[in-house]
Subunit: 212 residues, 2 copies
């Protein structure tokens, strides 16, 4: 068994070179390309080169918002764990996740809705510009679309990448028609890791991490 003994710091760079090579002649707008490549890096799944869709100017607006101290809301603790919080903190940002709050659970039970639904309502009350990174719960996306359409929320970005087989595809289409800026993985695929990778791809563009 032969291992290439290359430094850990170089592994990521090398990985992106392989991804670039395998993507071949495909063209992506320059602000979108690092997002697509980081998602493929996180999943080894080239389907994302086709699945990921962006509203016009979504990446630029999100980066400007983070630069101005926007916070990030996630639907699960896994997304929260995956985001590079140190880099986000350089710009004054924090990550919020309300899914495990006892008050959220109690209210969800009482109203007969999901904890994800309630946790999005809680997040909408935060008094700072917000980006949403949703990797798991279609009901979180459905609630966000409702809040946006009711004029109760103006997010800087909605990352809509839940994974699954029931209501997932439809919830993503709903976000794309809500009027909010979005990055969505169309279809069934996505996940907490994908949501975190998209946030990190934005952050790494801002700090000019080497190589990509």
């Amino acid at each position: 068994m032969e291992f290439e003994f290359i430094k850990p710091a170089e592994i990521e760079k090398r990985s992106f070179e392989i991804i670039t090579e395998e993507l071949g002649e495909r063209f992506f707008p320059p602000e979108i390309e690092p997002v697509i490549k980081r998602v493929i890096h996180t999943s080894a799944d080239f389907d994302y080169a086709d699945n990921l869709v962006f509203s016009e100017g979504a990446v630029q607006r999100a980066i400007a918002a983070i630069k101005n101290g926007a916070h990030i809301v996630t639907d699960t603790s896994m997304v929260q764990a995956g985001i590079n919080k140190k880099t986000l903190a350089q710009f004054g940002g924090e990550v919020h996740c309300f899914i495990a709050d006892a008050a959220v659970a109690a209210e969800a039970k009482q109203r007969g809705v999901t904890r994800s639904t309630v946790s999005m309502e809680y997040a909408a009350k935060l008094d700072v510009p917000l980006l949403f990174a949703i990797g798991n719960a279609p009901t979180a996306l459905i609630e966000l679309a409702r809040l946006v359409e009711a004029g109760r929320l103006e997010p800087e970005l909605i990352i809509g990448v839940p994974v699954g087989f029931v209501n997932v595809v439809e919830s993503k289409e709903l976000i794309m028609r809500s009027g909010a800026p979005y990055i969505v993985a169309r279809g069934r695929k996505g996940g907490s890791n994908i949501a975190a990778a998209i946030v990190n791809a934005l952050l790494y563009q801002m700090v000019h991490r080497e190589g990509f």
Copy 2:
């Protein structure tokens, strides 16, 4: 846009029915089937029906170990976040992740190795039966194979599912030849979400969660 208004509790059951339907006539041994289905549920990626490989008796041994209070070691905080720790705690188990320890970082820097390598050495010193869930770091797998081959570690299971393009494929093959019981996602695919899903699939078999 039509949503199926079904209870959140039923969504998972329904999802597994869809997965079962789409897998068609494929046969899997009964203890392996729930693992494969939960990984597909987590990723919407049917490649895992082919990628996942199990050493003989791996699932049964892992379940017996958890039942006797084995602990779980992860390579990242995302895997740790994704594991159902409440269910694990019913059997006396805990999840350990040393990657963010200051002492690990200091030692890795001094020795010129990865933090993942050092964190596996720390884990090997724990005085309880251990399962390893590795979703990110090939160097964690390389170190585990080394410890096993040197007789310094006898894990109850190694879940080897890092994702990526450099050294990933090879590190998984190394685990499969180490002599340790394993569940491995052959090839490039995997991730923190996959590692957590495999642990949860074991746990849910133990508590007879409904439907799968």
